[in-house]
């Protein structure tokens, strides 16, 4: 059975905007999946529906045999890590605390009140920081770090949740090319070595082809492509982004010229 399955998922915002239309999807455990599509296609909404930050309005999402509903979403979130475009760290707390935040779901309000964590949590956080290679920054304040480093803290927070699934919502859209590649390599390594399923929203087709096991593409809230990186030809890309073949290659040249 598939690890994640989405059945007839719809998302309509209160203002009537329909962000996801009838999405049916099965995802196997341990895969690295890239989600492509133009801005506003519903990529973020899809990821945010999977941990109920933006719950789907219709349809069913099942993760590891548990169907998301209003009552159990916190339990599901506890083992689903999320990595954000803007990192979403608590700037004024140090890196260690930001990573320990990934353990909060396991604790009662009383121990949280005094900012106390058990020793095992520190070991988990230390391992997560070692994984993202930021042990030396453990006691620095989060806002003193560079963008790439902050995103690695975001990944460490997700790792501290000891997740089976990591959702990364455009994790490299605010980073420079060098940090972007580092972050994607890190996510790929986590997927391959720990067998954690990783779903990444991306804008760059090239990165998707380089890192992903499987590529999914959305346009205007509908699933328009689902296949292996090899199957994503130039013609298919043009279809996804709603441009002609010539324009795409022209854009690609322009992009190359400016990077």
């Amino acid at each position: 059975m598939a690890y994640i399955s989405l059945t007839a998922v719809h998302k309509t915002y209160p203002n009537g905007y329909c962000a996801l239309k009838n999405i049916n999807l099965d995802i196997q455990a341990g895969q690295f999946i890239a989600v492509l599509g133009p801005s506003g296609a519903g990529k973020s909404t899809l990821l945010r529906a999977m941990n109920a930050l933006d719950p789907a309005t219709q349809g069913e999402i099942t993760i590891d045999g548990v169907t998301l509903n209003k009552k159990n979403y916190r339990k599901i979130r506890a083992h689903v890590g999320m990595v954000f475009q803007q990192f979403n760290l608590v700037d004024r707390l140090n890196v260690m605390t930001n990573v320990l935040v990934g353990r909060l779901a396991e604790h009662s309000w009383l121990s949280s009140l005094f900012y106390l964590f058990p020793k095992t949590d520190y070991q988990i956080a230390e391992a997560a920081l070692r994984e993202v290679d930021l042990l030396d920054k453990a006691w620095s304040r989060a806002d003193k770090l560079s963008g790439g480093q902050q995103q690695r803290v975001g990944i460490a927070r997700a790792l501290a949740q000891q997740p089976k699934l990591i959702l990364a919502d455009e994790p490299i859209a605010s980073l420079d090319p060098k940090s972007s590649e580092e972050v994607l390599k890190l996510l790929r390594k986590i997927c391959s070595e720990k067998g954690i399923t990783v779903i990444v929203n991306l804008h760059q087709v090239e990165y998707a082809k380089q890192f992903a096991d499987r590529i999914i593409a959305l346009n205007a809230g509908s699933l328009v492509f689902d296949g292996s990186p090899e199957q994503l030809t130039k013609a298919k890309q043009a279809e996804i982004y709603g441009t002609t073949y010539e324009e795409t290659s022209h854009d690609a040249e322009l992009v190359l010229a400016y990077t």
Binding site: E126, L129, R130, D133, L135, D136, A138, W139
Partner: protein, 259 residues
């Protein structure tokens, strides 16, 4: 550069500061000899005491309303005079506008001095030199809050982007012209907010100026409480409370409209 071990945790001085603060508070409680336990015992009595305010005596309503209007007028005059004084002094106390550093220092110190003198002390002084009545109250409020407004205006003027002043200097504008054409148009909105804040404050203050014989509703309340006329006191408190709430809502409405 990457390291493989967690650096040792830096010393956290927060517990030390917290215990020092608590020790200081304990020392203060001991020195002031305040008995909070009396307060706990007294809560039952407090209920009985507060019940004496239960039946507001509204028979003197028209004279109370007259006093409340006098209070509002005192606050209005005080605020207007403060505005005039503050607007005159502020440009000299703004770094970019002041003619020379010496005048800047003097203007700042003058504003500081006006702010530091409590308005009740000023009211006492004015009452003893010009007799009882609302006029000394107006002057006391004017002098004290001109210090505040002047500081706010000067800070607003310093926050105006330097380019605006430079542009006017470039066309050969003088001191007054810079104030009229660069400073005020750029800081109008914040300054209106400051004036409203000061007016709110002055209404509250005018309500108690009567305690030193400077007009308004305060003296009436003082006398009512001194003669244990709780029903009159409660009527007065209700009038003051309602007026202040109305004024507060009015000024936050104006602030909202301006934004």
């Amino acid at each position: 550069m990457s390291i493989k071990t967690l650096p040792s945790r830096p010393h956290n001085l927060f517990p030390l500061w917290l215990s020092l603060a608590l020790a200081l508070l304990w020392l203060i409680i001991w020195d002031l000899d305040v008995a909070f336990q009396d307060l706990v015992y007294g809560i039952a009595d407090m209920g009985e005491y507060l019940s004496r305010y239960g039946a507001p005596n509204l028979s003197n309503m028209s004279s109370y309303l007259h006093l409340m209007i006098q209070t509002l007028v005192t606050a209005f005059w005080g605020t207007t005079l403060a505005f005039i004084m503050a607007a005159t002094i502020a440009p000299y106390a703004a770094r970019q506008l002041t003619p020379n550093p010496f005048i800047y220092r003097i203007a700042r110190e003058l504003l500081n001095f006006m702010r530091a003198m409590p308005d009740l002390l000023l009211a006492l002084i004015f009452v003893s030199s010009m007799g009882l009545g609302p006029l000394p109250g107006v002057l006391a409020l004017a002098v004290h809050t001109a210090g505040f407004l002047g500081k706010f205006f000067a800070e607003n003027m310093e926050r105006v982007p330097a380019g605006k002043y430079e542009a006017l200097s470039a066309v050969g504008a003088g001191f007054t012209q810079k104030i009229v054409f660069a400073a005020w148009p750029s800081m109008l909105r914040e300054s209106v907010g400051n004036v409203l804040y000061i007016f709110d404050r002055n209404v509250r203050m005018a309500a108690v100026l009567g305690l030193v014989g400077a007009g308004g509703i305060g003296l009436e309340l003082h006398d009512a409480l001194r003669l244990f006329k709780y029903n009159q006191a409660s009527a007065l408190i209700i009038i003051i409370l309602l007026t202040i709430i109305v004024i507060d809502n009015l000024s936050s409405w104006i602030r909202k409209v301006l934004n």
